[in-house]
Amino acid sequence: MVSQKTKVLMVIVALAALAYIIPHSTSFVVLLATRALVFAILAMSVDILLGFTGLASLGQAAYFGVGAYFTAILAARYHIGLGWDFWLVLFLGMLVGAVLAAFFGLFAIRASGVYFLMITLALGQCVWGLAYRWNSLTGGDNGISVASRPNFGLDLTNERTFFFLVFAIFIASLLVLYVLVRSPFGRSLTGIRERELRMQILGYNTWLHKYLAFIIAGAFGGLSGVLWAHTNGLISPETVVLTTSVDALLMVVLGGAGTLVGGVIGSAIVFGLREYLSTLVPWWQYVLGGVYVLTILYLPTGLMGIPARIRQASGRSDKTGKKPATEELASKPS
């Protein structure tokens, strides 16, 4: 078993390598990496729910979309958030995501297992419906285009500068979430994932824990949405559509739920396949669909689970290995 310190060191080395390699690549790769990093934040927010709390959310696009629309509307209509006040918008975007999650959580946390999946799907569709139809606010099907990126001494219209900003915010999110899941609060979330009833008997208010996790996930969903508005430049109902939520969930499962970094790897793979492979071959989506199907069939713990599997296969049983989050869903009576 690799120690936690070594793992952290490996992540730091990998991130440092990224920070060095990406800016020296073509502008296409820089753009691709920026997008993947924004979605990595969204995927990590899904992982807080799926991997650490055992709640599979199919509506994370709602918070992503709210953050994105919030930013786009402020920038396009009121020219707010294009200077130093970008940081204010960033903070408010997180707040909007958190507030929406606090409201939605009142409904969603009542359900568990498959029902949680469906109620989050329905909540996500509510937001999509508003984005699609509320023309006067959201521009309907046409969406809203954000004319320019913020410029506060740092000129973010430069793709490389923007990449570094997103990269910095990504690392900050990773740090905050890492500290969170290692904290007593994070440990009790894992306890809820493993066996909620036992946590209740131990005196934990499991509803409140799940509710707080839901709000935190919403805040980081909102944060990724703010960044997406400036990355993509155009925010339309496509941003909030069901497939965005599904993508985020699949990224986490692909990389490995309950690892935080897994979602980042998943995001990189999905964007790599979708946007890079699509320029090379027309049948890229078969590869993506095939990767999903094969991962789910043969790698329930995701790519991050491969080392543990190899150890298991070579005979040394891995006693500290984590149980996949999916098992908890399975064991719930429906």
């Binding site: 498959v114 069901l242 497939t243 069939l297």
Partner: protein
Amino acid sequence: MNTQFWIIQAFNGISYGALLFLVGSGLSLIFGVMRIVNLAHGSYFLLGGYIALSVIWTTGSWALSLPVAALAVAVIGLLMERIFLRPLGFDPLRQVLLTVGFAFLFQQASLDIWGGNNMDITPPDALTNVVVIGGIYFPLYRVFMIVMAIAIGLLLWVVMEKTRMGAAVRATVDDAEMARGVGIDTNRISMFIFALGAFLAALGGVIGGAFLGVYPGLDFEMLPLAFAVVIIGGMGSLGGAAIGALAVGLADNFGKALLPELSYFTLYAPMVLILAIKPTGLFGRE
């Protein structure tokens, strides 16, 4: 806003509900029997439409395209269940994600085979006429949709309530373990129901193709609507699916006519409330 408006909107809502019943009833049965949230159900709908188009192009017969498309998609569903879903055992999340993987594969396959254009299925002339009752024009095709849904609904009801097979399905919905205990082959039931669900969705795709069109992306547009039907009506209940479909069809139509800016919200918000208060749906079995 006179009586005529209300009658026309109600008629449109009911006929849309008829279409939704075909998609929703299959999804509901699949969920009831197997507890699988099938996110590829919208793909079956779309595939049904596309296969029907191919049949019409080669044979020119619309009537033939209905059974051929529905059966072809039923076979796809059957294979998917047998080869991929069954080995997973009871593991809802992995099953859900697997169906998404398939939805993406189907999406790409249909894009490769049928292209990305918006296409229409043209029904025979006899069905494109208009009936005039009391000065109000009713398109005959929508009447046909309602009749078709009622016929299929009745057929399903007879099979579920009056036959041995139907009793076995109901037993599996209520308590799969107990059903296995008394000697019901729940594996075969699952396979049968999955194929039936795919069959109904594809049939909906062919019938709906005439007025919704057949285009890439339709799969993920129909999917949430089908879920709304299932959740409002209750999972695993045929009568519930009928009522759910009617409710969603009417809510969708009146929502679009009366509150256009909130139209989808008025559809999904009740779905949230029902899930939060009574997760098994209004008419679901406990």
